[in-house]
């Protein structure tokens, strides 16, 4: 149960090596004893993530999870909830990849869509059933400002995040009567493994800055948040710019 001041007791991280997700878990673990379930592809990186959270004082278990295999998602979610209530769930997996390949190569496009959109939706459906039974909880999905207005440079990624965003925004309404708060987080550019080597955009964030936004959203039961906060107003302007202007912008 998330207590009156917003401390959870358990957390499920789907995308168990997500730098943002791990930073969220670390922050919560500092305030209260925290049980963490890391769901991700088994391997060294996942083990290292588990080690990092154990160092932060969390009780960690690891669960094999592949976003590309939707047929397994119900089972994965069942296993994640097997040891008791899950107070916070983070849907924090995703791929970016080569965005030129993504709109010219069919396999590359499909990979993006299957992981970022299909996987996020199937996992969301499985989570929703479990959270409704539980009658409480926070479900946080990592969207992106890339989904708010398609850009020439990353519109396949943007389209997957737009789909994810719409799904989880709708899910927010669907799960409200069941005591579950669904939060859609829209970060701008984040310095992470995913964006390594890419030129940073204005208002770029570190994973721990995004994590702070997520922690605050969970504690205050916010249903949507941008990272950083002012990005909301930037995007509001960008969404309304006429195309001839927008395409000239260095974004």
């Amino acid at each position: 149960v998330i207590d009156a001041v917003g401390n959870p007791q358990s957390l499920l991280l789907l995308g168990g090596t997500s730098e943002i997700g791990l930073a969220v878990a670390e922050t919560f673990a500092r305030a209260r004893p925290l049980r963490v379930i890391l769901a991700g592809r088994p391997g060294e990186r996942l083990d290292a993530a588990a080690g990092r959270l154990r160092t932060a004082g969390a009780t960690v278990s690891v669960l094999p999870f592949d976003a590309r295999r939707p047929e397994t998602h119900t089972e994965v979610v069942e296993k994640a909830f097997a040891d008791g209530d899950v107070d916070v769930t983070l849907v924090a997996f995703g791929v970016l990849g080569d965005q030129e390949a993504a709109w010219t190569d069919l396999a590359a496009a499909r990979e993006q869509v299957e992981v970022n959109y299909v996987g996020a939706v199937t996992v969301g459906v499985a989570l929703a059933q479990r959270l409704r039974q539980q009658g409480h909880g926070a479900l946080v999905a990592l969207s992106s400002v890339a989904g708010e207005r398609a850009r020439r440079s990353n519109f396949v990624y943007g389209s997957t995040k737009a789909g994810l965003d719409a799904f989880y925004t709708g899910l927010t309404e669907a799960l409200r009567p069941d005591g579950v708060t669904v939060t859609v987080i829209r970060p701008g550019f984040v310095h992470s493994r995913m964006t390594e080597g890419m030129p940073a955009a204005p208002l770029a964030q570190t994973p721990s800055q995004v994590a702070d936004v997520i922690v605050r959203a969970v504690r205050t039961r916010q249903e949507q948040a941008w990272a950083p906060g002012p990005m909301r107003w930037v995007m509001t302007v960008l969404r309304h710019l006429p195309r001839p202007v927008f395409r000239r912008l260095p974004v």
Partner: protein
Amino acid sequence: VERERGQRRLLTGWGRTSPSAATVVRPADRADVVAAIGSAGPRGVLARGLGRSYGDPAQNSGGVVIDMTCLDRIHSIDAPAGTVTVDAGVSLDTLMRELLPHGLWLPVLPGTRQVTVGGAIGSDVHGKAHHVEGSFGNHVRSLDLACADGRVRTLTPDGPDADLFWATVGGMGLTGVVLGATLHVNHVETAYFVVDTDQEPSLDELMARQADHDDDYVESAAWLDVVTTGPNMGRGLLTRANHARVADLTKHAEDPLKFDAPHLPSVPDVFPPGIVNRFTARAFSEVWYRKSPTRHGVVQTITQFLHPLDVAANWNRIYGPRGFLQYQFVVPFGAEDAVREAVRTIAHSGHVSGLNVLKRFGAGNRAPLSFPTPGWTLCVDFPVRSGLNELCDRLDALVLDAGGRLYLAKESRTTADALQRMYPRIDEWRKIRAAVDPTGIFSSDMSRRLAL
């Protein structure tokens, strides 16, 4: 009652934090309660009264919650013997109004009358009379408990099931569902109090005054200012009273047992967060302190003296959508420094609280989870905002160091580990509970959160 007939609803405590969804069933009679227990699913079942506990003890997320206010009959009043037999869902408000014309008085009334008898037993509530009357459980002569096995047991404080009786008193509804009870009540001549008010300019003077002759009064509690810092830190108003006798009344002597509760309209749910802030709390504390200079022998009504908040329904809404929490602890006599340190910590924290109560508890009772123990109890309430977690954790450490404890009816954020150390008899209680409910059918958000 079949589960299917229940209604899925979002529930919170009075603090309006941590909402969760449960299937709420409304029983028509005792058999419906037993049926609801029998058909409990994997998330269990829990009784709920008027929802005045502040945190999550009356929520059962994903499970069944039985709305006990449906069982609200007063079965019999035996005025000469001073006993009353009621259903668990009767509110103390209703009961008090029925008892007064008979010249009868509930010895234990908490800060609001809007609680049920079942809830008063489950939380073992106390009032301003604790130092004389003890807590609610002290006045329960017998109670009927619907248990996990579907049986209804009649329990008495000294009978063969005394262990289960005392585990149910203060047991937060986790031993079963209290269906009804027989209570001991006092005789009074009037519905009024003769009140002595002492205005004290500092915490030390307030505590010294309260320690002096407290036993001359049946009711005693102090309001104190936890916003002001400096030499006037913890200044307050000590109000102590005895029941007025007919001879004490000048104005109301022709109808000494008459009780009129004024009712303001319900507070609307329109307040943004932050209404209770440093400025409003400081202004409130100043006015509240100034309005009551030292005066002795003033005749006051029940509402004036005991339940000023009961005039407005839903007053909890002024704290805005994020809600608020109450923090109430007791530390033993001799640990006065812990009280001072707590007030200092709060006053310097930037977190504000207006409705603060300081009181001296008398002897505790036999219930393993009953809150009151001899000592000082301080109660404050904070609107939820960032940094409150850290403040409350600091206060927890102070309370633990002083050998004190928190009140479960108000608890909403501590840890299972802290609670374990606060209640040394908690394992004894767990054993009694496990014997009568081995699979844990009775469960609540609080029981999951604190591993009760």
